[in-house]
């Protein structure tokens, strides 16, 4: 991943800082005074039962929802309240829980769209053309084809995204995030409803990208996937963070077990512990 932004960010610095985030729907708190940081170069998992506020939180910090309170900073620049396209331009890329794709457009076009706001071609030049545009277009195409090859979709480069299976759409979404040259990628359920082979492939791609310097914040229900990938896991329940630790510690946390399995099961488990 060639990204000048990454080189300018110190390793282990706080790339994302969220302070006192609050979001309510008609009086019901979906996100309740949430604060946390994400470290540069890490893979952070965000888990929690259905309706715990994970997707709402992500929608808030990427400009799709307007929270009632809270501030958030990307690489020390405040992005609170900005419209969604600013986040991508600032280096944050995201995927969606309901897998989105530009159905009628080819895979290659989809990736070119994802990348076109992230090179140095101005709005004016993108209409009137010129050498700079030609060079940028060639480079974008080369990169898009390379990414499609990485996710094993190169043979469908000219096919419309409509024909892809669910798992292939997840792979396309992941490649699209890479076209935006991000330094933080937020993945909303990247392996939900996907077969094991694709899960392993997505896992390997994320690891490889992380090794090249991309930071990940992953929302997911697949615990095995989270435990394999993440160095840190945050657990959200009823809009509040109830655990924030290493995966093995979180797995043993009674509050987390209670949130996932119900209190009765949690008590039963505790009873069997020595």
């Amino acid at each position: 991943m060639e990204n000048s932004l990454i080189t300018s960010i110190e390793k282990n610095s706080k790339i994302l800082k969220i302070n006192n985030l609050e979001m309510s729907y008609q009086g019901v708190k979906a996100v309740d005074n949430v604060s946390f940081n994400v470290t540069q170069g890490s893979i952070t998992g965000l888990i929690g039962p259905n309706g715990s506020g994970k997707s709402t939180l992500i929608d808030c910090i990427t400009g799709f929802l307007k929270p009632q309170a809270g501030t958030w900073f990307i690489n020390n620049a405040e992005l609170t309240g900005l419209p969604p396209h600013h986040y991508s331009l600032a280096g944050i890329s995201r995927t969606f829980q309901s897998t989105k794709a530009f159905g009628e457009l080819s895979l290659l076009e989809s990736l070119l769209i994802a990348g076109q706001s992230h090179d140095e071609v101005t709005f004016y030049k993108s209409f009137f053309g010129g050498n700079k545009l030609q060079i940028a277009d060639l480079e974008a195409k080369r990169r898009a084809l390379e990414l499609l090859e990485q996710v094993n979709l190169l043979k469908y480069a000219d096919a419309p995204a409509d024909i892809l299976s669910y798992g292939q759409r997840k792979l396309l979404a992941l490649s699209s995030t890479m076209m935006t040259k991000p330094f933080l990628v937020i993945l909303d359920e990247p392996v939900a409803g996907v077969n094991q082979t694709t899960v392993r492939r997505i896992e390997a791609i994320i690891k490889k990208l992380n090794e090249s310097g991309v930071t990940f914040l992953i929302v997911e229900h697949n615990m095995e996937f989270i435990m394999n990938l993440c160095s840190r896991v945050l657990v959200l329940q009823s809009g509040k963070i109830i655990a924030d630790d290493e995966p093995n510690v979180v797995r043993q946390n009674p509050l987390v077990m209670s949130a996932y399995l119900g209190s009765a099961q949690s008590k039963a488990n505790n009873k069997h512990e020595p």
Binding site: K100, Q116, S117
Partner: protein, 321 residues
């Protein structure tokens, strides 16, 4: 790919042939028909940019056409401007109005946008009828002077007949359609399509949705306004009927049957559906019935337009599982 290029070249050759076809007949009627085709080609390309590319069902297209028509007519008759200076001003003024309509209505939902633009068009009709001191109300502004071309050391050419005006329309249409084409195939056109297909996804990838939408409305308004400004000098009168729903209806038919989002599909449909009503004039009783039947058949056979049919056929080629 080769097949597609050959198809486009053949289509372009056919369109060029159609452009010069009025000269084969030596009849003013065919030049008048050519002017109608040019006007609708620009108008439907403008609507296609909004509805086909970006997914905004705009009923304001006819209002931009009418505003351009009234602006150039007023500037020429009341301020003694020439049509060549009045036309760009009509385009700029219509573009400003388009930006205002877009900015105020685009923050609403797509459905609300359709309603706002429809109301705006109706409002324009009322203004044209009621602001008598400016527009002369229902009487309109008749007797618009024929455009003239002054070439130094040559006599002045008065464009007072359809066969003299037709080349002006043709040049303007080619320029306007070239602009629409460039916009459609540029990165901006790609972004517009992305916004139509999935707005949240497009914005999450750094595309400024609002500015792209406003740009599309402004471009569409400017070019439609200018063709309106030119068209009234063919009619030699402008009155509130310039805002008639007939124009909107025709544009919608051309875009829907041509295939929303397809440049060539809509261009072909605009030629075809400008000419067909005239070809059916042999029977004044059955003319509209035949036109209606033709439309129903077209919609039944091609529910997504010609372009949609071609797209579905392309999708069937890609079978993965």
């Amino acid at each position: 790919m080769v097949y597609e290029s050959k198809f486009k070249i053949s289509l372009l050759a056919l369109i060029l042939l159609l452009c010069i076809s009025p000269y084969f007949f030596h009849s003013e009627y065919y030049f008048t028909l050519g002017i109608t085709v040019c006007t609708f080609a620009v108008l439907s390309a403008g609507l296609n940019l909004l509805y086909g590319y970006i997914g905004l069902l705009s009923f304001a297209q006819v209002a931009f056409f009418g505003i351009g028509a009234y602006t150039s007519a007023i500037l020429v008759t009341q301020n003694s401007w020439t049509i060549w200076t009045a036309l760009p001003i009509a385009g700029i003024f219509t573009g400003i109005v388009g930006a205002f309509v877009g900015y105020t209505s685009l923050k609403l939902s797509r459905h609300a946008f359709a309603i706002v633009t429809l109301s705006f068009s109706l409002l324009c009709t009322i203004i044209a009828r009621e602001w008598i001191s400016l527009t002369r109300g229902s009487m309109g502004i008749p007797g618009l002077p024929a455009p003239t071309i002054n070439i130094p050391s040559l006599e002045t050419i008065v464009l007072d007949r359809p066969n003299y005006l037709y080349p002006v329309f043709l040049i303007y249409t080619v320029l306007a359609l070239f602009l629409f084409y460039r916009l459609g195939v540029s990165r901006i056109g790609r972004a517009l399509k992305a916004i139509k297909l999935d707005e949240p996804l497009a914005s999450s990838q750094g595309i400024n949705v609002l500015s792209h939408k406003i740009l599309a409305i402004v471009v569409s308004a400017v070019l439609s306004g200018m063709v309106g400004g030119l068209f009234v000098f063919h009619l030699t009168i402008v009155d509130p009927s310039i805002f008639d729903f007939y124009y909107t209806e025709s544009m919608l038919i051309m875009v829907i049957i041509g295939g929303p989002g397809s440049y060539w599909g809509v261009l072909c449909a605009s030629i075809l559906f400008s000419v067909i009503p005239d070809l059916l004039r042999f029977s004044s009783d059955l003319r509209m019935v035949a036109y209606g039947v033709l439309l129903i058949i077209s919609v039944l056979i091609l529910p997504n337009g010609v372009a949609g049919f071609l797209r579905n056929r392309n999708n069937k080629r890609w079978k993965i599982h």
